[in-house]
């Protein structure tokens, strides 16, 4: 009985979260491909931007897996990854305007993710909202 109830609430919780996880997966893939390419080919042009690209790729991968897993531990990891991402996109977004020389080449987070339709700035907000909602349910 309690098992079947847990099952339904689990399925319900996943609903919209599946789309969120899929978008995170696409960003994890895109950021990883981009970071590998730039680190391999033009690392010396803008090392700061490219190291950040690699860091953001790692955070997207972690967030994708953590969001997909259930349980308190993974929820906490997901929340930390998503908050890190939010701080990252705000910090890098601001720095890319105040210190453009550090970001001569674009990274996922420069210009608050303008090159990616601002999805990198919106994604962590949606992620936090969904984590809060799932936790309450």
């Amino acid at each position: 009985m309690s098992n079947s109830r847990e099952q339904t609430s689990k399925t319900k919780n996943l609903g919209f979260g599946r789309l969120l996880i899929a978008v995170y997966a696409i960003f994890a893939l895109a950021a990883t491909a981009r970071a590998s390419y730039t680190l391999a080919v033009k690392f010396n042009d803008a090392p700061v931007a490219y190291v950040l690209s690699a860091v953001s790729a790692a955070v997207y991968i972690l967030a994708t897996f953590a969001l997909a897993k259930s349980g308190a531990k993974w929820t906490r990891i997901a929340r930390i990854a998503v908050i890190f991402e939010l701080v990252g996109v705000i910090a890098v977004g601001t720095l890319s305007f105040t210190h453009p020389e550090l970001f001569a080449h674009p990274s996922v987070w420069s210009g608050f993710g303008a090159g990616y339709g601002y999805v990198p700035a919106i994604l962590p907000l949606v992620g936090l909202y969904w984590l809060a909602k799932r936790n309450k349910a």
Binding site: L14, G15, F16, R18, L19, A22, V23, A25, I26, L29, A30, A33, R34, Y37, V41, G117
Partner: protein
């Protein structure tokens, strides 16, 4: 990139993406039709890959960066495969159809970016 093939591929990916997205939002689980749409998108990318290899072999190259162009193309080839895999694992959810739609729309965006890299219109 051949211009006419790029345009066709872009509009097909956009149309498939939007139709699939709406079918998902209106509650349809993945079907032969929506998974077939991904097959068309993937086939287009494979053709694009072959065409691009032939063009490069014949001495053409991307105005910006040929390696980056191929990095995008190879990444793009993975996206519909992942989306279909997702739909096969989670075959009863409407969200799987939404994911298929997002996949095709992602390909449309990546095609635009690939065209920019190839033609050098925009850095």
């Amino acid at each position: 990139m051949l211009d006419w093939f790029y345009s066709t591929q872009l509009w097909v990916a956009l149309a498939i993406g939007l139709i699939t997205l709406f079918m998902g939002l209106f509650g349809k689980a993945p079907s032969d039709l929506t998974v077939g749409g991904q097959a068309i998108v993937e086939l287009g990318l494979v053709i694009q890959l072959v065409v691009s290899i032939v063009l490069v072999a014949a001495g053409y190259h991307a105005v910006n960066d040929t390696a980056e162009f191929f990095a995008y193309l190879i990444t793009a080839l993975i996206v519909p495969l992942g989306a279909v895999f997702w739909a096969l694992v989670d075959r009863k959810s409407k969200w799987s159809t939404v994911v298929l739609g997002v996949s095709a729309l992602t390909i449309a965006v990546m095609l635009v970016r690939m065209h920019q890299i190839w033609t050098g219109v925009y850095n």
